[in-house]
Amino acid sequence: MTAASPVISCKNVWKLFGAQPEQYLKSLTGNPGFDEIRQAGYIAAVRDVSLDIAKGEMLVIMGLSGSGKSTFVRCLSRLIDITGGEVQVEGQNIGAMSEKELIDLRRNKMGMVFQSFGLLPHRTVLDNVAFPLEMRGQDRHERRARALEVIELVGLSGREDYFPRELSGGQQQRVGIARSLAIEPDIWFLDEPFSALDPLIRREMQDEFLRLQEMLGKTIVFITHDFDEALRLADRIAIMKDGVVEQCATPDQIVLNPATEYVAKFTEEIEKSRVVHAGVLAREVNGYSLTGAPVGERQTISELARLLVNDSRDFLPVANNAGTLVGAMSRQEALNVLLGEGS
């Protein structure tokens, strides 16, 4: 997954709210807890977060409300100035950018989708979607053509002339998504995009989102408070609590090896077999004699359930999409994931 240089790279990012956060941060020694900082009259929204996001990766930041996840994503796009540390986007320190450079970066590289949509109420769907293009001064015809293209992409053709308040929540968010894609950004921020929608629509929008991502292959930072959503979409999940990233790993690893108690609590209720893939359980082939048809590395254990129960082999070969052997999976281990460790 990791490419040569990360698209976004955070080093020790801090965000404190309070009277004189910079001075307070300098005076800090060691790593004080959230409550300790609050005693001093500051709110620690983001505490010492270091993360790299690779090109084409989808990083989901998961946390309950107040965990600092929304603040963190705003630090990445510099909607909020950070208190300490450094955020680099494609090698450039965005904290040091001038206003003009920052605007240029947003006009050409970044798109963002908001929880309550953030649509402009006085503009039609078309004008909303074309808004970022208008801001960078493209001419009317080009704007219109590109906006219509993205509107079609999100499935809103025929509603170009509607005003936001004439649309349902799901449709409004489609407008939000279309707008964020209009400038063909490389980096796509989504701040709880589906949280304001009802569960059925949410599911539908997630499918839609996966379809778009497959087509576009953007670098994505996706915020959610819904663990299922995170598992469903993520390449990697970063779980935040009180401003700290508790664990940042693939869904399989989080489910199999929760790093902290807090993470473990989240994973307790999750049916692991739906998350864990055969590829993760595959070991090196050395010493085992493998026979029979291999299983695919992207198949989840729950998809393989029937096979696992009926098969008699101790080790199953695991192959990738191209059919090359990548390893061997212990049937017992897989069954443990499926049925729980138990007796």
Binding site: G118, L119, R179
Partner: protein, 654 residues
């Protein structure tokens, strides 16, 4: 309170706010009782204490006017305004100035009115807007009404622009807002006349002075609403603007201002209503139009004709209010794909078509062009007849009422207010302040009234206070029961609120017509006008407060077996009290404004002095008097809002 109790742990607290309040109150009573033995310096402010504020203000004014050369600036601005006024005057009523193409036939303006009303809300509003113009034309008041409107047409855009710019500046800079806020507070409680005097000094009298005083008077609400609107733009909308790569200017122009549209348009509505109120009153500084006519007719006691003009002013007010409100609440709607140009722009085309038709017809039918005085209808004769009959009919009642009120209510109370030593009054206010908001509020009260005391207008101020107190008490005695009655079911409440809303759009001047008709020109008429004007907000907020009580509380009371009266007294009224007090606050403000306006029908209070200052263009005196009135209002405002905030917190409403 809580930290105080924490300090005195264990010990019962002896000096609570209420107790200190009572202690000061007792002192006040002692001062009042001992009136005859008090030294003179405590009965009335002594000579040496009275500061010549008026002279100081005049000195500053002369310095600013002559030495800083502000006069040239204001005159230049006034000339610009005058040029615009001439253009609108020519178009609307044919004043002989550039572009010399007016007057526009009345049918054209009326038909545009019909179309605008229809486009904004539908046929009801269309009838109101168009009908107003038809009424004006048919009653032969076209020229006066257009004189009034021509000023509004020029003044309102200036106010809106100034207000928006100031609002944006205040939103950008916290410091500017901090400076602006107290100025706005005072500006919004200064009586109308206080604005006129400086304008007369700088600009003179006549239409342009009227226009400029109107601009100044109507700016504050626009500033407030722009600021409010810009503050209320949702966070995410602004962030989305940022993420779309907007520069600061683009963000303001394309994101913030359009999203704040509704609040800004409510500001426009308030500007226009304030403009109308002021334009009518500007007749006192030689502004021609409906106000001047009304003033002349009222002074000549021509009831029928003044009722006609009154109806016109009311219609204009309601029409302007409804149109701007409809505009503010109107939401954009899309057209289906493939809708033709004609349908998309049907109102524009309809307006152009109708106007052209009327323009052509007016060339052949003179009555469609202009209706002269001779052709106009009048209903003044029957109104006069009915009014005469009615006055004769209820004369015994009004005579008795007048006698009773003057001899048994007004004069005794006035004498009591005048008898009170000023030290006692100040102590009384301090007691009220302390009981409500502690030391801070007590000091606020003392400062405001102390300044009035040392301004040298104590007796006049007391007469104003007495009129307001009497009027608000009578208004409350009428308004509360009416409000409670009006709140009992949804339908009644909505009708009552509609009536209150409509009454509140009337310029204050209008309220003088019925009372002058009934009581003639005296104290009772003044009190009557103030009572009418002050009762409206009381009724309105009583209904709103009672309707806002959460349904679950009432259900809980019902299930506890409360009767309707018990629910009212034990649940609804206590919960509604903070809102009702907002009504009392407004009521006091309205009363103060009205008392000052009513001065011209004969009072001996600050208003009368202000009229004198106006006729002798004494800026210093006028401003001192105006500030005295403003301070009274601000003190009441401070007390009521402090009390209401504490009460709301205690009730968990905020």
């Amino acid at each position: 309170m809580t930290d105080l109790t924490m300090v005195h742990t264990g010990k019962p607290q002896i000096w609570t706010r209420a107790r200190i309040g009572w202690a000061i109150f007792t002192a006040a009573c002692l001062l009042a009782v001992g009136n005859s033995v008090l030294p003179d310096g405590l009965v009335r402010p002594p000579e040496w204490l009275i500061l010549p504020f008026a002279d100081w203000i005049n000195a500053i004014f002369i310095f600013v006017r002559d030495d800083l050369g502000l006069l040239y600036l204001t005159r230049a601005f006034a000339d610009g305004v005058e040029w615009l006024l001439d253009v609108t005057a020519n178009l609307l009523y044919g004043k002989n100035r550039w572009p010399r193409i007016g007057p526009i036939p009345w049918t054209v303006i009326a038909s545009i009115g019909f179309v605008i009303g229809y486009a904004l809300q539908g046929w009801r509003l269309s009838l109101l807007t168009g009908g107003t113009f038809v009424w004006i034309a048919v009653m032969g008041q076209w020229k006066w009404a257009m004189e009034t409107l021509s000023v509004i047409v020029v003044a309102a855009p200036f106010s809106i622009l100034f207000g928006l710019v100031m609002g944006i500046l205040a939103w950008r800079s916290k410091t500017f807002e901090k400076i602006l806020n107290p100025i706005l507070n005072i500006a919004q409680s200064l009586p109308h006349f206080a604005y006129m005097i400086p304008v007369v000094v700088f600009i003179g009298v006549g239409p342009k002075a009227g226009a400029i005083v109107t601009i100044i008077f109507s700016v504050p609400p626009m500033i407030r609403m722009s600021l409010l609107g810009l503050r209320k733009v949702p966070h995410e909308v602004i962030e989305s603007g940022h993420m779309c790569g907007s520069t600061r200017w683009q963000l303001l122009r394309h994101v913030r201002i359009p999203t704040a549209r509704t609040e800004i348009l409510v500001g426009v509505n308030q500007v226009i209503m304030q403009c109308l109120a002021m334009v009518v009153l500007a007749s006192f500084i030689g502004m021609p139009g409906l106000g001047q006519k009304l003033l002349q007719l009222l002074q000549a006691l021509k009831i029928g004709r003044s009722v006609e003009i009154g109806i016109t002013i009311v219609l204009l007010a309601v029409m302007l209010d409804r149109c701007t409100k409809a505009w503010a609440t109107k939401q954009p709607e899309h057209f289906e794909k493939g809708t033709s140009f004609a349908v998309r722009n049907k109102f524009l085309l309809l307006g152009i078509g109708l106007s052209l038709a009327c323009l052509v017809l007016a060339q052949f039918i003179p009555l469609m062009d202009q209706i002269g005085r001779r052709d106009a209808f009048t209903i003044s004769k029957p109104i006069d007849a009915v009014a005469d009959w009615f006055i004769v009919l209820i004369d015994p009642v009004t005579q008795w009422l007048r006698w009773f009120l003057i001899t048994w209510v007004l004069i005794p109370i006035r004498d009591a207010f005048l008898w009170m030593p000023y030290a006692a009054v100040l102590a009384l206010l301090a007691a009220a302040g302390w009981a409500i908001g502690g030391l801070r509020s007590a000091l606020v009260c003392l400062t405001f009234f102390g300044l009035i005391a040392i301004s040298g207008w104590w007796d006049r101020a007391m007469i104003t206070v007495y009129t307001v107190v009497v009027a608000v008490c009578i208004a409350a005695a009428m308004g509360f029961p009416l409000g409670i009655w009006g709140s009992f079911n949804e339908k009644r409440a909505s009708i009552a609120l509609l009536i209150c809303d409509t009454l509140q759009t009337f310029p204050s001047f209008i309220y003088l017509i019925p009372v002058v008709m009934l009581f003639g020109v005296n104290d009772v008429a003044v009190v009557g006008a103030v009572v009418l004007f002050a009762a409206v907000p009381l009724v309105r907020y009583t209904i709103e407060g009672l309707r806002q009580v959460p349904e679950t509380l009432i259900e809980a009371a019902d299930m506890s077996g409360a009767t309707r009266m018990q629910t009212l007294w034990k649940v609804r009224l206590p919960m509604a009290l903070p809102t009702i007090m907002v009504g009392v606050n407004q009521s006091v403000m309205f009363s103060l404004f009205m008392v000052i306006i009513a001065a011209f029908i004969g009072t001996q209070d600050l208003g009368q002095e202000m009229q004198r200052a106006l006729s002798s263009t004494d800026v210093g005196k006028g401003l001192v008097l105006g500030l005295a009135v403003a301070f009274m209002g601000l003190m009441v405002d401070h007390l009521v809002t402090t009390w209401a905030r504490a009460k709301k917190e205690a009730l968990g409403l905020e």
